[in-house]
């Protein structure tokens, strides 16, 4: 080979992609051409330098943990739904049972002591708390995984007979993790999954048909905090074990955008 090596040959040489014949011919030329030898050396050094420079972004530890949980979550039987995770593990089932019966007990006691919420709204809150617990115990990935409100909100198109807005600006350390379609009181609801620090929050959005919830929901239920609000068309409430103030911050951010205030839809 007497002609100079072109770019593609030099690159293939650096990448180890030349056939034996091509390599022999290239080596024959390199032995007598200083310019091509210099170029070949540069390409080889550039490749290794790029490999080093390209290893730039270290993965956050929490992402590794989340992915590991997600993969392991898929080991659960396919028929296990969010509400049917009793058999997922003995501990999860025991925890869910304890919390369900505990919540019923606490609900009954609260109903006797403080008539803050009606029996219907309490049942709704109980059902929501149960779903929140089941979500935590199930550990299965949400049906839509995204922190982008422009991904999550459109996902519900055609799945629920109403719409809602999601805030772009969230309180500090608060993140949208995804969403699920669920059912509360036998009606479809959007279940928005947020995290506040390491606490997980379930936000339920459903159509205001029955007016089951009072206009300003704020309650304690089985150790969970419940906070929410009503609009003319929607009932929105959140369940979490996070500090009530921080939960109120998230609910406030969601409430603020329902009528378009301070937020483009």
């Amino acid at each position: 080979m007497s002609e100079h090596l072109n770019d593609e040959l030099l690159n293939a040489l650096a990448d180890g992609e030349l056939t034996a014949e091509q390599l022999a011919a290239a080596n024959e030329h390199l032995a007598q051409c200083a310019a091509c030898t210099s170029n070949a050396l540069f390409q080889s050094l550039l490749k290794s330098a790029t490999a080093r420079a390209g290893q730039r972004y270290a993965m956050p530890a929490q992402l590794q943990e989340r992915m590991a949980r997600m993969v392991k979550g898929q080991n659960a039987p396919q028929q296990a739904s969010r509400l049917g995770v009793w058999g997922f593990t003995g501990w999860a089932a025991a925890a869910v049972l304890l919390l369900v019966f505990g919540s019923i007990f606490v609900f009954e006691r609260n109903a006797q002591q403080v008539a803050v919420v009606s029996s219907e709204s309490a049942a709704l809150v109980t059902e929501a708390c149960d779903q929140h617990v089941a979500t935590l115990a199930g550990d299965a990935p949400p049906q839509v995984i995204s922190s982008d409100r422009h991904t999550v909100k459109p996902w519900f198109q055609g799945r629920i007979p109403f719409s809602f807005n999601l805030p772009e600006n969230l309180p500090a350390d608060t993140k949208l993790e995804g969403a699920d379609l669920t059912y509360l009181h036998s009606q479809p609801a959007a279940l928005l999954l947020y995290s506040i620090g390491k606490h997980r929050v379930s936000v339920f959005v459903l159509q205001r048909l029955s007016g089951a919830l009072p206009s300003d929901v704020s309650a304690e239920h089985s150790g969970f905090h419940v906070d929410g609000f009503n609009t003319r068309d929607l009932e929105v409430f959140a369940v979490s074990d996070v500090d009530p103030g921080r939960l109120a911050g998230l609910i406030g951010a969601i409430e603020q955008v329902q009528d378009g205030r301070g937020q483009a839809k």
């Binding site: 770019d7 540069f42 290794s48 330098a49 490999a51 991904t151």
Partner: protein, 217 residues
Amino acid sequence: MWKEKAGENRYSSIKMTLLPWKRVDRRSGPQTSAFEDLAMPLLPSLYNVAFWLCRNGTDAEDLVQETFLKALRGFASFEPGSNFKAWIFRILRNTFLTSRTGLAAQRTVALEDELSGSEDGHAIYPEAAIDRQTPEMNLMLLADRAALQAGMETLAPPLLEVILLADVEELKYREIAAVLDVPMGTVMSRIARARAALRAALQTPPSPSNPPKEVRA
């Protein structure tokens, strides 16, 4: 350097089909375990490439998460013994293309005359410009990691992804062709153009009028 051209799409020819990794056999438990064994070690690489493509950590996390979910659900179609790394990187790349960030990247295309030549692989950077560099100067240039990273940030997405797959992930040309769903010749020409662009970027120190792009952490 980059200009938007409405209606043009450098990825328009890319099909969202999976390559010959087909196998219809749905077994949940052992399959998931096999998936875990194959996929978890690749997580740091997937995140690194995702960050390069998305240019921010939050989008990169979303991209990796969605990639994992798709790969997990489609693992039954993966052919054992074939290249899992190429398979999952292809999912990552296709997922990126359909993401908001990816769609924006597709809309941002480079004018051909600014993209260092055509797909036939002829770089516009003259050989003479390279020959003027002595080996010592080349070594000094290549030792500047920040300059090289800044140069990578200025690459068009089709050139950046090919250089990440070839150099960082050390995929072979045929594997890259499978990931990108393009002919091997296109892979070779893109690699040549990407390296020529990097070489030019190294030889042109950043100026106030052409600073390296900022990348959000």
